[in-house]
């Protein structure tokens, strides 16, 4: 909404001019950044990087970091791997639900950092439906009583040799604004890659959710619907990051802080629990 208000202001301002400027800004110095999201039954991938002065877009990895992860008091063995050109610390055993996880990272010349989180429950989703020639994806979400936080995403998929649909590409869609108050999606034809929604509007209820996709559904294609349960720390990190990205370049709002549960550093070490539904378009 503020984005659209901002555009109206710019329309009133008739013309805008931008130029690169240099304002010396204070910098606290490099800190350890921990980025690791824990998915049950999957190994744990952790990126350890350095923070950089404001405006940076490249962040050096700390290859010699000491990474100690505990699962309910049990130490996990971590190995460093190079995946897709990026370095990760990867656990040798999968993450188990119902355990608390903690991490301590040390690096020469940098403050040691700590973080901890648990794993959320898995969302209950069922009865997916997508019709060829249409641009809707429907499914049922059964929310359990209590506070839950969800992330929704949609992928185009392909069947692998085992017959499972694997995600290939993210798809854009939009929700009924009653879930996210995003009234302006309708007029701006704004489609999203992911949506973060708390359950406060459907707590404990079974709800039919309709996603309007940007592209028309084609017969024979596969879709993969992902609904992810998030812990509070993960939710807070993702939501504050979403708001920061959405408000980038918007003078109408003060810049918000992105939540971090990494004491002494930055980043997120949080739990999530994704559920998937395979949808064959007929």
């Amino acid at each position: 909404m503020r984005k659209i208000l901002f555009y109206i202001i710019l329309a009133f301002s008739l013309a805008a001019c931008e130029k690169k400027v240099d304002i010396p800004t204070p910098y606290d110095g490099d800190k350890i950044v921990v980025n690791g999201l824990m998915q049950p039954d999957s190994v744990l991938y952790i990126r350890i990087t350095r923070s950089q002065p404001p405006g940076a877009s490249v962040f050096p990895e700390i290859t010699d970091a000491g990474v100690e992860v505990k699962a309910g008091g049990h130490l996990l063995l971590m190995q460093r791997q190079q995946i897709g050109g990026k370095g990760y610390f990867v656990s040798t055993e999968p993450v188990a639900a119902h355990l608390s996880y903690s991490i301590t990272v040390t690096a020469p010349g940098l403050d040691t950092v700590h973080a901890a989180d648990t794993l959320p429950r898995s969302p209950a989703i069922k009865e997916p439906f997508a019709q060829a020639g249409g641009n809707r994806v429907k499914f049922l979400l059964k929310d359990l009583p209590g506070k839950d936080f969800y992330r929704f995403r949609l992928f185009s998929g392909e069947k692998n040799a085992a017959g499972a649909v694997m995600p290939v590409k993210r798809l854009r869609y939009r929700f009924d604004p009653s879930y996210n108050n995003s009234f302006t999606d309708l007029i701006t034809n704004n489609y999203l890659e992911s949506t973060l929604i708390p359950d406060e509007r459907f707590d404990g209820r079974e709800t039919t959710i309709v996603m309007q996709t940007e592209q028309m559904n084609k017969a024979g294609d596969y879709l993969l619907l992902e609904v992810t349960g998030l812990t509070y720390d993960t939710w807070h990190y993702m939501k504050t990051l979403e708001v920061q990205n959405a408000n980038e370049g918007n003078l109408l709002v003060e810049q918000n802080r992105v939540h971090s549960n990494v004491n002494g550093g930055y980043g997120i070490f949080g739990g999530l629990n994704a559920a998937y539904l395979e949808i064959e378009i007929k």
Binding site: K19, Q52, I187, V258
Partner: protein, 883 residues
């Protein structure tokens, strides 16, 4: 003594008691007369009770008509009732009551000061007794009351822009004198400025009276003259963002301004996100800005009072005015409903950019043939003024204005993103906000020294947005898809109230005002409603935060402008208020003190100390004042705001009234100012837990202001300089340390010049400079994540960084300066006035910072700190015809 003489004396002595005991002061009188001369009352008492009256018809006016109805009332009380109020005194001599004229050392001249041509009441006109060096000014309704020596032979009445007049006073009695002033032959239609009376003759400080004519001759932005933009050019007032007409007074926030339109508060004073004010200058008669030293009659906001009076309408002739500008057109009509008794004035204004851009928008937004696109603001004012009698007048005024965006699509599509697909989409989206303000005011003159005004008013501000979306796939029966959804979000704040104000002038040494007010506030801070039927299945039909709450504010006040001696004046006042909400109440007693001492060379030293309390908070997490911000009542956790301001200054108007100079210093402390920390994400609603997102802190503002103005002659203008600090401290912001507030500007210079060229042209120029505004920028960046596994498909949008928000406002934007110029040409032919204004905004195309952010360079893929500037050089023209 002879026997005969002794007998005669004895007879006389014997007779006297008989006469004396015929009546006495306790004699019970019964008398009933309706609209009869005094002489009839005397004749009746003489006939019925044997009371003889003696008087000279040349000296005592016995023709005055009276109404009396008494039964068995003591004689003295009846005589008091008959004679005292008519300036007649009585004395018993023997068996007679001798009537003479009551001798008094003073008398009271009162009445209204008005425009001789239109009958418009003039606010702040000076009524002066030259021989005695005493005077007064007309109040907000044009009423004046001057109690002066009985032998005062004339009054001098003056008002800037009008020819001064000398009113001879024939006799020595109190009387009502309505004074008509003729406009001077200037380019201005009505000119109202401050400093009459001279600055050294006012105890009031930290006050600015705005020349509405000055507003019209100043350089304009997009052809629109703007009252609030002119106020920004005064020391102590800053405008916030570039191009905004919002006002920030002495380090205060916009919600701390009490903006009154004919006595009714207006919540949101700007159109188009602060670019234009809601006050159509064609309708404005007078503007008073109080930056401090608040009179006791005002309360409820911390930082300023802007008291705007609307014109009353011409009592004698019909007039109209049509204006065409680059952005908006305006119309005004005024005239008598009953000549000399009832007048009206109506104005309207609307922008028309959307009318010009309708077709382009329909194509660009793919709205279809039946589609619509509207983006405009409008406002309208109306006022009726009726004179019932010499003592009673009624004013009914109304304001309504709205900013509006609406988009409607009604289109049948054959493709969707290049794929063949037939569907029909209907969509309507509306977004708007606006104020309404109404007031009914009754002026009553109880006596020449006691004036009253009773007001009933209502005001509201609301923000509303809604959508309606209907979708139907047309490739049926192959595809069955339909949506029918609608949603609405709105917030509203309303108040309705009544107040009665008295203006009492017992003698030249005291000007007393007192009154009481009651205002009921209703808050609806963000209500959401949704309905969604998809494929004939009801998915949603609900509302959220459908809560309404109220609060009653009661206030009483008293103030006395007291002339202790020729050189010493004191303004003593107190404003006491309470705020009642279910389950709790607050009480506040706010002293208001002002002091003036006349120094050698007629410089006035002025001091003031005023306290203010504000029971309403504005929940805002925006960098500026937005229509989506929410008004809420104070609570135990978020208590009322409180401010204490001390000011000291020197002021003087030159003997001729040409120059005015003032220097002031101030120090203001604020308690319970708030920060709202809700994430700035779509719409916010002040749910029951809004207090959890508020942090309460303290604020300080201090600084100095210098103002030099030339007010007469062909060349006029002013220079203002402000040196100021504005700070805040909150427990969780910047580690609890004091930091610069977002409206903190260290230096601010305003230079406004106007030059008349002949009878038709007036040139104007405005140059302003201010230090850079506080700025918050990230103090670091780091890599983001959103995946639990690197094997998931990457996002469609590039991204990857998180910015670390640093301490608030620890940096500064670059300094801001700008020159605007304008030229106004006025031609009159056959009672029709043609006015042309040509303006050039930002003459030397200065690129002032609007805001800063990190932007990715598409070539290098690196992020660069980027400054965005808006409002380059902007020419504009407006043309008006008044008839």
């Amino acid at each position: 003594m002879s026997l005969a003489r002794k007998l005669l004396l004895g007879l006389v002595i014997a007779c006297i008691p008989i006469q004396v005991f015929a009546w006495n002061w306790r004699t019970k009188i019964s008398l009933s007369l309706k609209d009869q001369p005094l002489s009839v009352a005397c004749e009746w008492m003489e006939k019925e009770y044997g009371i003889h009256f003696s008087y000279s018809r040349d000296v005592v006016t016995m023709t005055r008509r009276v109404n009396i109805r008494v039964k068995d009332v003591p004689l003295r009380r009846v005589l008091d009732q008959l004679f005292t109020e008519n300036g007649i005194q009585y004395k018993r001599i023997g068996d007679q009551l001798v009537l003479t004229v009551k001798h008094s050392a003073s008398r009271t001249i009162s009445g209204f000061v008005e425009d001789a041509v239109t009958g418009e009441k003039l606010i702040g006109a000076t009524v002066y007794a030259p021989g005695l060096h005493t005077g007064t000014t007309s109040n907000q309704y044009g009423f004046y009351s001057l109690t002066t020596a009985k032998d005062t032979s004339s009054l001098s009445v003056s008002y800037i822009g009008y020819k001064p007049v000398n009113i001879p006073l024939k006799d020595g009695e109190s009387r009502r004198v309505n004074i008509k002033l003729s406009p001077a032959n200037t380019l201005q239609e009505v000119e109202v400025t401050d400093n009459f009376p001279k600055l050294q003759e006012q105890t009031q400080m930290s006050k600015v009276n705005l020349a509405v004519s000055q507003t019209k001759t100043m350089p304009r932005m997009l052809g629109e003259a703007d009252v609030l933009r002119t106020i920004q050019a005064m020391p102590g007032v800053s405008g916030g963002m570039e191009g905004s007409s919002g006002i920030h007074v002495r380090g205060g926030s916009p919600d701390q301004n009490l903006i009154l339109l004919d006595g009714t508060p207006v919540y949101n004073s700007t159109h188009a996100f602060g670019i234009f004010s809601v006050f159509n200058p064609d309708m404005v008669k007078n503007v008073e800005l109080y930056k401090g030293a608040f009179p006791a009659r005002y309360g409820g906001r911390l930082s300023s009072v802007v008291d705007i009076s609307m014109k009353d309408g011409d009592m004698h002739e019909y007039h109209g005015e049509v204006s065409l500008g680059l952005l908006a057109s305006k119309i005004m009509v005024e005239g008598p409903i009953a000549k000399g008794k009832t007048s009206f004035i109506v104005t309207g204004r609307r922008t028309y950019a959307d009318l010009l851009a309708q077709d382009v928008a329909k194509n660009q937004l793919n709205l279809g043939k039946e589609g619509e696109f509207w983006l405009y603001f409008f406002d309208a004012n109306a006022k009726i003024n009726h004179i019932f009698s010499q003592k009673d007048r009624l004013y009914l005024s109304a304001y309504g204005g709205r900013d509006h965006l609406s988009v409607k699509r009604d289109h049948e599509f054959d493709t969707m993103n290049g794929e063949a697909k037939r569907y029909h989409e209907q969509m309507r989206f509306r977004l708007g906000w606006g104020n309404q303000a109404y007031s009914l005011r009754w002026n009553h003159i109880f006596s020449p020294r006691l004036f009253s005004n009773t007001t009933l008013n209502y005001s509201q501000f609301n923000f509303n947005t809604d959508y309606q979306y209907n979708y139907l796939a047309l490739d049926t029966p192959r595809v069955r898809e339909s949506d029918n959804m609608n949603g609405r979000y709105f917030s509203k704040v309303q108040n309705a109230g009544g107040k009665i104000d008295f203006d009492y002038r017992p003698n030249p040494n005291h000007a007393v005002r007192f009154g009481l007010q009651a205002t009921y506030n209703i808050f609806q801070p963000g209500i959401l409603r949704f309905n969604n039927i998809s494929d004939n299945q009801q998915l949603t039909d609900t509302s959220y935060n459908d809560e309404t709450s109220g609060g009653l504010e009661l206030a009483v006040y008293f103030e006395d402008d007291w002339r202790i001696g020729d050189s010493v004046h004191l303004n003593l006042g107190v404003h006491a208020s309470s705020f009642l909400v279910p389950g709790r109440s607050y009480l506040s007693v706010q002293p208001r003190l002002g002091f003036r001492y006349l120094l050698p060379r007629r410089w006035a030293l002025k001091l003031s100390n005023t306290m203010m309390t504000q029971y309403l908070h504005l929940l805002t997490n925006s960098a500026t004042y937005m229509p989506t911000d929410l008004w809420v009542a104070a609570t135990d956790k978020v208590p009322p705001m409180f401010a204490n301001q001390v000011a000291a200054g020197l002021a003087k108007t030159s003997q001729s009234g040409t120059y005015e100079i003032s220097v002031e210093g101030y120090y203001k402390t604020m308690l319970n100012v708030i920060e709202y920390n809700e994430l700035a994400d779509n719409f916010q609603s002040a749910t029951r837990s809004w207090e959890d997102n508020v942090i309460v802190g303290r604020g300080w503002s201090y600084g100095g202001e210098f103002f030099l103005q030339k007010k007469k002659g062909d060349f006029r203008g002013w220079v203002g300089y402000t040196l100021a600090w504005s700070q805040r401290a909150f427990p969780n912001v910047n580690q609890g340390r004091v930091f610069p507030y977002k409206y903190d500007r260290r230096h601010d210079v305003e230079l406004v010049l106007t030059q008349r060229l002949g009878k038709r042209w007036e040139l104007s120029a405005q140059w302003q400079y201010s230090s850079g505004a506080p700025l918050s920028l990230p103090v670091g960046s780091y890599e983001e994540t959103g995946e639990s596994s690197p094997h998931m498909p990457p996002g469609l949008e590039p991204g990857g960084e998180v910015d670390v928000a640093g301490n608030r406002n620890m940096l500064r934007m670059q300094d801001v300066h700008r020159l605007d110029v304008g030229a106004t040409h006025v031609k009159e032919r056959k009672n029709v006035r043609y006015t042309l204004n040509i303006s050039l905004y930002n003459v030397y195309n200065q690129q002032n910072p609007f805001f800063y952010y990190y932007k990715r360079n598409n070539e290098t893929r690196e992020r660069e700190l980027t400054m965005l500037s808006i409002l380059p050089i902007l020419p504009s023209v407006s043309y008006s015809i008044r008839f």
